[in-house]
């Protein structure tokens, strides 16, 4: 194999036996060995394990029992528990934790016969927007080594952008799939909340987290979502719905589709080099038959403040289990029990995680709960209502995934609040539980990619993917590869 095809193409070649899974897997393992180092995209690779899976996949293909993802090597964000694989969540706390069970998502890929290619780097416990918060060092953007790839699924995004994997999984709590997809010029999807099971997907903020795919195209996202989505009885928030055939509905086009463009999106804070490509992308969609409709999201400006109450609150509780008792890091020296806890957690967690735990603990504490947590949950409902109202007038909402292109490594680390505010386009979607997708639509300053965010109504992923597919039939942004990674 001497190119790096999109997943859909690779899948075709595998099924028609033009290439074997072992060949394909070797190809990517090879690329990882050669190219992943400077990017720091991968945390764990196990060639033996992967090739064993590839051999099994080839047998299955030979028996005629293949499905679209059989034999395809997939990289997984290190937040998904995979039995027998180190699962670190980018943290010292789980540096040597070998998961004793599989996440539902991993089981889904397993059932489909996919190959686990490796575990990707990420912001610690999914907290971050630049992948600079990993205990294992930052990830670099393949488009520009001085730039961040975005976060928290920075490793997965970099891996797909650099063609080190045909596709990867990520998770998105406030934009952690969409923003890195935007920064690295690839496609990424956060499904409707409840679409993909969270069982085995280490929790950050339970009412916001969703697992989703990162890949080269909307078509690839459709194939990935087809495997990832599905009811799981072990997750009480997993919704039992009949399966959508995303791949079959890709060709629907955008004729007559009403694209809502919120007036609140185009402010001073949106960089001009992003605004340009976004507007052009919307014009392209109109050329393809869609209709632009002005809408309003009046509480848009409250989303980031609301998120930074709810997410840290839920995280502070979700991360209480990391105490050095049953698994994970335990401080090497300690006095009594209280000391063991305090030192284990002080040493095991990085600075950003600790900050968020402290904020979360505070906003839930006695005397502050009403003013902070309860209030935030009420404003959250106002934000969700805004979307419901907007969807009366349009079918999808479009806009930037981020207010700028990828920033330089180190540029925002002194100012965490500024980094938080940059998630203003992606966060509201998580608060409402809606599906959101980012597809590349051009380049901004210094040749860094720009992503168009498309937001759908609940359960409307098929329509969003069809829009992405139509856009990608008419443009070629998604085919661009960073120099040196072709």
């Amino acid at each position: 194999m001497n190119d790096n095809p999109p997943l859909a193409e690779l899948s075709r070649r595998l099924r028609t036996r033009k290439v074997s899974s072992v060949e394909a897997t070797r190809h990517y393992l090879d690329r990882i060995a050669r190219l992943a180092g400077p990017l720091n995209a991968f945390l764990t690779v196990d060639a033996e394990k992967s090739l064993a899976q590839a051999r099994a996949a080839d047998e299955r293909i030979a028996r005629g029992e293949a499905s679209p993802l059989t034999g395809v090597p997939i990289a997984h964000k290190d937040l998904f528990c995979a039995s027998g694989w180190r699962t670190t969540c980018g943290s010292r706390m789980l540096e040597n934790f070998v998961a004793p069970y599989d996440a539902h998502v991993i089981e889904q890929f397993d059932r489909a016969g996919a190959v686990l290619l490796g575990k990707t780097n990420m912001d610690e416990f999914a907290m971050g927007s630049s992948n600079e918060n990993s205990f294992f060092g930052p990830v670099r953007n393949p488009w520009d080594a001085a730039a961040v790839p975005g976060g928290s699924s920075g490793g997965s995004a970099a891996a797909v952008a650099a063609r080190l994997a045909p596709a990867a999984t990520g998770t998105d709590t406030g934009g952690s799939i969409r923003q890195p997809a935007s920064f690295t010029g690839i496609s990424g999807l956060k499904p409707t909340y409840g679409r993909v099971s969270r069982y085995g997907m280490v929790a950050f903020a339970s009412s916001l987290d969703q697992g989703g795919p990162l890949a080269q195209s909307a078509e690839d996202l459709a194939l990935m979502l087809g495997v990832m989505a599905g009811f799981d009885a072990r997750d009480s928030t997993s919704v039992d719905r009949p399966k959508d055939d995303y791949a079959a509905r890709l060709g629907a086009g955008v004729k007559g589709l009403r694209i809502g463009v919120p007036r609140e999106y185009f402010t001073q804070d949106l960089a001009a080099d992003v605004a340009g490509p976004i507007r052009e992308a919307i014009r392209e969609l109109v050329r393809l038959g869609a209709r632009e409709v002005p809408v309003s999201l009046p509480n848009q400006h409250l989303a980031v403040p609301v998120y930074y109450v709810i997410a840290p609150a839920e995280a502070s509780s979700n991360l209480s289990r990391y105490d050095g008792v049953r698994y994970g890091y335990r401080a090497p020296e300690y006095g009594d029990l209280a000391d063991m806890y305090a030192k284990t957690r002080a040493q095991g967690f990085g600075a950003e995680v600790k900050r968020r735990i402290l904020v979360g603990t505070y906003v839930l504490s006695h005397g502050y709960y009403d003013a902070y947590y309860l209030q935030a949950q009420r404003v959250r409902r106002l934000i969700a209502r805004d979307f419901a109202a907007a969807f009366e007038a349009c079918d999808v909402i479009a806009g930037p995934a981020a207010p700028s292109v990828a920033f330089d490594l180190g540029a925002r680390t002194q100012d965490p609040v500024q980094m938080y505010l940059d998630d203003l386009y992606t966060i509201p979607i998580n608060l409402a539980g809606l599906p959101g997708m980012s597809i590349p639509c051009g380049f901004g300053a210094r040749g860094r990619p720009v992503g168009l965010q498309v937001v759908g109504n609940y359960w409307d992923e098929a329509r969003m993917l069809a829009l992405g597919h139509a856009f990608q039939q008419a443009t070629d942004w998604h085919k661009r590869v960073p120099p040196g990674y072709g």
Binding site: F97, V325, Y362, S365
Partner: protein, 94 residues
């Protein structure tokens, strides 16, 4: 806004050890975050129900049946300290 004493109290509640330097550094950081959050506190939300879940479904119920086998050996293979099947911790005082 948070005083050093409050920061220490919260850190104790969260079981995270913080030294003086860290408390000093955390002050401005946490206060910046809480300052940013202030924007949503003043909003009038009278009569608005808090939204704890994106979906308005009810909790699904599981049949009462034993479905988990004994996997102690596997689960304890990742434990920091185990003896006689028990997880060991510094002595717990009543």
């Amino acid at each position: 806004m948070l005083s050093p004493a409050e920061i220490r109290r919260i850190a104790r509640l969260a079981r995270i050890e913080v030294d003086d330097a860290q408390v000093a550094a955390l002050g401005p950081e946490l206060n910046a975050i809480l300052g940013m959050v202030e924007a949503m506190q003043a909003i009038d939300t009278a009569g608005v129900e808090p939204m704890s879940h994106p979906q308005a479904f009810a909790q699904r119920l599981r049949e009462d049946a034993v479905s988990e086998p004994d996997r102690r050996a596997e689960y304890q293979s990742v434990a920091p300290q185990v003896e006689d099947g028990l997880f060991l911790v510094p002595k717990v005082l009543e």
